[in-house]
Amino acid sequence: MAEPILEFDDVDIRYRTDGDDVRAVNGASFAIDEGDYFGLVGESGCGKSTIADSIVGGLDDNGEVVSGEIRFKGEQIQDYSESEFNENVRWKEVSVIPQSSMNSLDPVMKLSEQAVEMAKYHTDLSRPAALDRLRELFDVVGLSESRISDYPHQFSGGMQQRAIIAFALFLQPSLIIADEPTTALDVIMQDQIMDYINGLKDDWDVSMLLITHDISLVFENCDSMAVMHGGQIAETGTVDDVFDRPRHPYAILLQNAFPDVRFPDRELAVIDGHPPQLRDEVDFCTFADRCPWAEPACREGAPPATPVAGDDDHLAWCVRAGEMSELAANHLERSTESTSILEGGQ
Amino acid sequence: MPTDGKRESVDRRRVLQAIGAASAAGLAGCSGSGRQETTTEGGGQETGTAADDGELGERVPTLTFQYWSDQGPPTVLFEETISNIQSVASDLGIQIETQPMTTAQGITAVGDDVRDFHVAVNSHGPDPGRLDPNNLLQSYSIDRAGANGEYNPSNYANAEFSELVDQQATIGVPEERRQVVGEAMSIYSEDMPFVPTIERPTTAALNTDMVQPIEAGGAGLSAVNWSALVESGAQTQSGTDTILANLPGEFLTSSFYPTVGDTDSLGLYTQLTHSPLMLYNSDYERVPVLAEDWEVSDDGTEVTFNLRDATFHNGDPVTAGDVKWTYEFLSEQYHAGNYQWTALPEELTVEAVDDSTARFVTPDPAPTLVTAQLPTFGVLPRDPYVEAGIEENPTDFEDPMIGAGPYRISTYNNQENIALEPHDGNPQFQVETPIVMQIYDSVSAVRRAFENGELSIAVTLTPDAGRQIADSMGDTAQIVNGAAFLPFGMMPQMSFAPGMFREFRQALSYAVDRQGLNETYAFGESEEVTYCTFNSQQHPWYDEQYLTEVGEETRNVEAARQALSDAGWGWDDQGRLHYPPGAELEAWPEGETPNPENF
C-alpha cells in the first residue's frame, strides 16, 4: 500500500464566536492513500467542509486547528501561515473543486485571464504557454478550446463546473478536493461531471477527496471513504468495507435512509432528531441522541476507534461496534436478496 | 388639538408680556368679566339688542395671514408682525393661522382677489419711482381692485379716492397737486386700507480702521442709496487705498442701468456713476447735480433746467444736446417696451435751448417727471452711445459705461463685481477713493466677511447683523442706521369680511405692538408709525396734517375690543368673536370687480 498523501490525526477544529466556540471537528482521523479517491460523507453541518477547508488553509478567519496533526505528504501543515499555504500547498499540490461552481469563477475575468493569473503566481509559464495548457484541459473536460476566453456568465452551470475541473488540474496537483462538486446540477449533468472526475483517476496520477452528502456518489466513485456525523468521524474504510460491513449505527442507517431507484418499494430508514450543537467539550458520541442502540457508555467519553474484523483500515468510532452486526441485523440484511427492477447493470 | 395648543402658547405669551406692558397687565385683570359688559354696552349703542348674548352674528372664522416668504430680512419682519398679533388673538377672540407664499404667488393671489387669506402682511418695495406718491396711489385705485389680475395691495375700493388719484396725476402746478394728493391721502388714511407698523430700517456698517466715519441722513446708507457715502466724500483711513463693499445678489446683471432687472440696483448708477440733473439725497430731498436749478411753467407742461459745468467720464462736457438725446431716447425705448423702468411721458420733447439750457416739454402736465423719473435716470453722452449702436439694438450693444457721476466704472464683471474710480468732473460730489463692490448672496456671509476684514463697508445688513457686528467689533465698526421711505404694515383684504370692516382694521391697528416689533426686529433702531399712510416720515410727501392717527406706539387691546363692540361685534361665552348680527360679509361677490357706483 502506498504512503498516505494526506493524514488527519486526531484533529480538532474550532470556530471562535462571541459566545462559546463552535467545535466543528473533533478528534478526526483518517488517511488518504496516494492515488486513492476518498469520499467523505455526512449531513450538512457535520464538519466535512471544515475538514476540506483546513487542508488548504481555507478556514474562515475565526476558524483554527486547535489540536492534532494534518500531514500532507508527511509534512505538518495545520499551523501553516497564509503565505506558507500559498508557497507549499495551494494549487500546486492541492487544488479545489468548490461547492458552488456558479459563484466560484470571477464574473469579471475571462477564464483565460484567470488561468494566466494562476500560472503567473505559481509557475514560470509564459502567457501563450498557459493558454495552450488551458486549451488542453478544456479538451479534457469536454469544453471546446475556442471558448477559453469567454466570460463565466457565458457558460451554463455544467460548463462552469467543467471549467472549474480544468482549473483544478491546471497545475497538476497531487490532491484534488472536490467539495459537493455536483449538488447544484441536475442528474444528467451530475452524471457527466462525475464521469470526468472519475476519468482523471486513470489519466492523471491524482488523489481525490470527494466531499458530499450523497453516499451513492461515494460508493460509485471512491476507493475508500469516511462517514461523518456531528463533527466526529463515525466510520472509515474502503467503500466495500463500509457498504458490506458497516459497524457504526449512523453509517448503517444512512445507507438505508438513502433512496435507491432500484427498489422503489423499500421502506426508507429514518434517523430521528438532529445533530447536537457542538459548543462544549465533545466527550461523547454525537450520534448517541439519535441512535436506536445508544447506551450510557455512548455518553461517557468520545467513542474510541474500533477496528472492524481486525482490519485497521476499517474503523468504526462506536463503543458497540462489536455487537452491531447483531443489533442492527434487520437493517443489515438488505436489498441484496430482493432484485433490482432496473434492466441491465448488476 | 392644534388650536388648543395655539391657545395655550398664546396665553403663556400674554402673561409674559403682561409683566412688561402696562396695557396688557390691565387687560389681564379684567378679561373675562370685562368681556360681558363691554359686549352688552356695545350692543346698547349699536343695533338695539344686537349683541346681547345669543344675539350674535356669524362667528369670525379662523383668520389667515398671508406673507411673502422669499423677501429675506423683510420676511422676518412679516413673521414677527403676525406672531405679534397672534399673541393677543385669544383676547380678541380670534384664531390666526399663517400662509407663507412666494412674492410672485402672493401678488398673483391678491391681484385675483383670491379670498383664502384675510390679511396680507406684505410690503411696498422702496423703489425710486415711489419717492413720488403717484405710483402707490394708483395701485390703490378702485379699478385695480377685485378679481382682474391687477394688483391692489388690499383690494381697496373707494371711488372718491380713486377720482382724486386720477386728477393728481395730471396736475402741473406743484402746490395744487400737493393739495389734491393731500385730500386723497386723507381719505386713504381715514379708510385705513394699510395698517402701518414700523419704518423699514436700513443698516450698514463701516470699518473705521479702513474708512472714515460718515454723516448719514435719515435714509442711512444702503445698496439702493449710496448718497451718504458720496456726500461725505468716501474717504479712507491712511493705509487703505480702496473701499471694499458688498452688493446684494443679482445687483450686477446689466451694466446698462435702464435695463436692470429690478429697480433696487438703479440707485447704484444714479448716485455713483450716472448722475442725473438732480437727485434725492440721503435725506430724501431733491438736490441739484448736473443742473444748477430748474423751474416749472405755471401750467406744468414745461420744465427748464440750467446745466452746470460738468464732464462725462470720457472728458466730454455735459451739454443740453446730451440731455435732449438721453431723455427722448429713454422715453422712446420705454414705450417701445425695451427699457422697463424709464417711465418718461410718451410725447416728451426736450429742447436744447442753448448748450447749458434744456427744456422738457409735454403736451399735458407730467408732474412725476421732476419728482420721479428725472431724479432716477442719469444723463448719457450722446456720441459714444450712438457709436456703440444703442439706437440699432437698444438692449444688446457694447455699453461704453460712460456717465457724469462722481465715479466711473473701471471694471465690470457681470454678476460678480464692479470697480469704480473717482471722477473729478462732477459738479456736486467730490470723492477720493476707488470703490470695489462684490456680489454677496447672504447677509451672514457679508457679516462674516466684514468681521474678517474682507469688506470695509457692509450694506443692506439686517438690524440683527448690525447688532452682532457692533458687539463683535466695537468702535472699529460704525453702524449706520436709517429708514427707507416706505414703512412696513399689514394689508387687510377689503373685498370681504372681516377686512372689509373699518372697525376690524382699526382693531388690528390697536392690537399690534409697534414698540415690541421695533424692539424685536430693529433693536429699537426703527420708528413706530401710528398715522395711516404708505409713506414714511422720511418721505418727501409725508404730511401729517392730512393723516389720521390709527394706532398707538404700544398695544391697546381694550381699544381694539372697544372698536369692535362699538360696531356691534360681540363675543360668545367662550369668548369667540362674532360679527354683528346679519352683517353682510362680502364687499362684492367673489371673482368680480367692485362697481364704482357703490364705493
Binding site: 469579471v108 | 423703489d127 419711482g129
Partner: protein, 333 residues
C-alpha cells in the same frame, strides 16, 4: 449581442428621457402660480407696461403655444433670454455653471476616491475600531446641514485661526485684476486655493458618507463571495485579492458618482451661498422665486441631461468593469 445595437438603444432611450424631462420642466414651472411680471408689479411697474412685457415674452400666449415654441427653440439650440436680466440665458448661466463645476466636480471626485478607499479599508477591518469610529464620523458629518458645516469651518479656520478667507473665489481686487486673463490663470494663484480650501473641505466632509459607507458595505459583501474564497484557495497573494475586492466593490460607488456630480450643475446652493461662491446656486434660487422661466428651465435641463448622460456613461463603464452588464442589454435577464 452587438455593442452597436446596445448603444443605439441606450441612445434612443436617453433622447426620449431628455425630451420628457424638458417637457416636465416646462409644465412644472408654468403650473406654479405667478410669473415674473408679478415681481415687477411689486416694484411699481404699471399694468400697461406689464402687459407689453408679457406679450414680448410670450407669457400671454396659451400654454400649448408656449410649449411648442419652447420645444422648437430647444431643438434649434435657442435657450432664450432671461426675463429678469434681458440677457441671453447662456451668457448669464454659463460662467456660474463653470464656477460651480470648478468647485464641486473636483470635490465630489476627490470625495469618491478618498471616501471609496476609506470605505474599502473599513470594509476590510470589519468589526474593528476603525470601522466603528469611521462609520460614526462620516455619518455625523452628513447629519450636519451642509451650510452649517461650512459655517463651522469658517468659524474655526477663518474667524478664529484666520488661515482662510471666509468668502468668494478670489479676493475682489484680484478677481478684478485678472478679469481679462483666461479663466485657468486663477488656478496658478495661491490665493485661489486659499479661497478654495474651505468650500472644498465642506463638500468633501458632507458627501464622504455615500462613497465611504457604500464602499464599506459592498466590500464586506464582496469579501464573502465564493469566487474570492476560490481565488484565495488558488493561492493568490493578499494584495491581489484586495485589488480584486476593490474592483468588484467599486461598482455601486461608480453608479452613484455621476449623480452626485450632477450636483455641480444645479449647484450646492447653500454651500455656495455660505462661502459666497459665485456659482449657479444662488442664481437658480432667485430665478425660481422670480419665475424667470428661461433660466430655470435651462439650468434644470442641463442638470437633468447631466444626470442622464452620467448614467449612460456609467452603463458603458459598467460594460467594461462587469462584462455581464453589456450583455444584459440584449436579453431581459
Amino acid at each position: 449581442m452587438s455593442r452597436l445595437r446596445y448603444f443605439a438603444r441606450r441612445t434612443a432611450v436617453t433622447a426620449v428621457l431628455i425630451f420628457l424631462v424638458a417637457s416636465a420642466l416646462f409644465l412644472f414651472f408654468r403650473l406654479m402660480p405667478g410669473d415674473y411680471t408679478s415681481l415687477l408689479i411689486q416694484q411699481g411697474m404699471d399694468p400697461q407696461q406689464i402687459e407689453a412685457l408679457r406679450r414680448k415674452w410670450g407669457l400671454a400666449a396659451p400654454l400649448h403655444v408656449q410649449y411648442v415654441r419652447y420645444i422648437v427653440n430647444l431643438l434649434t439650440a435657442d435657450v432664450g433670454q432671461s426675463f429678469r436680466y434681458g440677457e441671453p440665458v447662456w451668457d448669464l448661466v454659463a460662467p456660474r455653471i463653470l464656477n460651480s463645476f470648478v468647485l464641486v466636480a473636483p470635490a465630489i471626485t476627490a470625495t469618491y476616491i478618498i471616501g471609496g478607499l476609506f470605505g474599502a479599508i473599513m470594509g476590510r477591518r470589519r468589526g474593528g475600531y476603525l470601522e466603528k469610529s469611521g462609520i460614526i464620523t462620516v455619518s455625523a458629518f452628513h447629519s450636519i446641514p451642509d451650510f452649517f458645516l461650512g459655517i463651522i469651518l469658517i468659524a474655526v479656520f477663518s474667524s478664529t485661526l484666520g488661515i482662510f478667507p471666509t468668502s468668494g473665489m478670489l479676493s475682489t481686487p484680484t478677481s478684478i485684476m485678472i478679469q481679462d486673463q483666461p479663466y485657468w490663470r486663477r488656478f496658478l494663484l495661491p490665493e485661489f486655493w486659499k479661497h478654495y480650501a474651505l468650500p472644498f473641505a465642506t463638500v468633501m466632509l458632507y458627501f464622504m458618507q455615500y462613497p465611504a459607507l457604500i464602499m464599506r458595505n459592498s466590500v464586506v459583501e464582496v469579501s464573502d463571495q465564493e469566487f474570492l474564497h476560490y481565488h484565495r484557495l488558488k493561492g493568490l497573494p493578499e494584495s491581489t485579492l484586495l485589488r480584486k475586492i476593490i474592483r468588484h466593490a467599486s461598482l455601486p460607488v461608480v453608479t452613484l458618482y455621476p449623480i452626485s456630480l450632477a450636483a455641480s450643475i444645479s449647484g450646492l446652493v447653500l454651500i455656495e451661498i455660505v462661502f459666497n461662491w459665485p456659482g449657479i446656486g444662488s442664481l437658480l434660487v432667485s430665478s425660481v422665486l422670480a419665475r424667470d422661466f428661461p433660466v430655470i428651465q435651462f439650468v434644470f435641463l442641463v442638470a437633468a441631461v447631466w444626470v442622464i448622460l452620467g448614467n449612460f456613461l456609467v452603463d458603458l463603464l459598467y460594460g467594461v468593469l462587469d462584462p455581464r452588464v453589456s450583455v444584459s442589454g440584449s436579453d431581459g435577464e
